[in-house]
Symmetry: C2
């Protein structure tokens, strides 16, 4: 892992498990930075954008906080406040569930949908750009390895 040593400006002799872990962290960080750069003009954090997409996926049906959390990439402790911010931007609406008043019903607004329409292709492009160094087979391989890593 000479390349990793370069990235971290170190001479340390990294074990394979060490290198792997650092490599994944490092990949995650540069990819995230890349996305944030693209999302910045729209004042959306990556998770906010992701939640908007989740809401759109409901196709007009409302969804509650728990279900949003389940679908989030990084399970946050405080989805309430994330949604608050989306409400402040008028991207989503929040109402109380009629059948179970403990639950909230969250729905994407037209403004939210329009914003997604603008941001989506940008994110698509970014995703393609991020992965362009690997062939289809290599990407599949990478995904397979990451899934296998997790499933213990």
């Amino acid at each position: 892992m000479k390349e990793l040593n370069n990235i971290l400006k170190t001479n340390a002799n990294l074990s394979l498990p060490q290198a792997t872990v650092i490599n994944i962290f490092h990949s995650s960080i540069w990819i995230k930075d890349d996305f944030l750069l693209q999302l910045k003009p729209y004042e959306l954090s990556l998770e906010q954008f992701n939640v908007l997409r989740i809401l759109r996926g409901q196709k007009g049906n409302a969804i509650n906080l728990q279900d949003i959390q389940e679908r989030m990439i990084s399970k946050m402790s405080n989805t309430t406040r994330l949604v608050d911010k989306l409400i402040k931007k008028k991207f989503v609406k929040r109402t109380i569930c009629k059948t179970n008043r403990r639950k909230v019903e969250i729905l994407i607004t037209d403004l939210g949908l329009e914003t997604l329409k603008i941001v989506d292709p940008i994110i698509d492009e970014t995703e393609k750009n991020i992965t362009k160094n690997l062939t289809q087979e290599e990407l599949t391989q990478l995904n397979t390895l990451l899934i296998k890593l997790k499933n213990k």
Copy 2:
């Protein structure tokens, strides 16, 4: 990527670039959580632990903030305050560089070294555990793919 769909509780038809990006994020998060769980009893964040290791790598020589930042996995905007916290815990010392008073010299203390001695094997074990589902070859392959992904 049926497994990814399971993890995210979604039916969305993820493209290969999308799946890859989400997969890397997801891997990074669960691995980080795993580490944090181990570091918790020592009240060290992952970056704090990492900086301690960087300092030890200096083998008695002081190092300044810039050089620490260069070696960090996630380049933080505010290493000052991270070091402040390590100082509060008496894990590191800070002095002003004699030759260039703009710079600070940061040095790990004996207490810092002792703490590392305790935490190191725990982290080693965690790293091994995290990667135990993959063979040596698979780990090498994973590292190679992640490096290739980055180098555009």
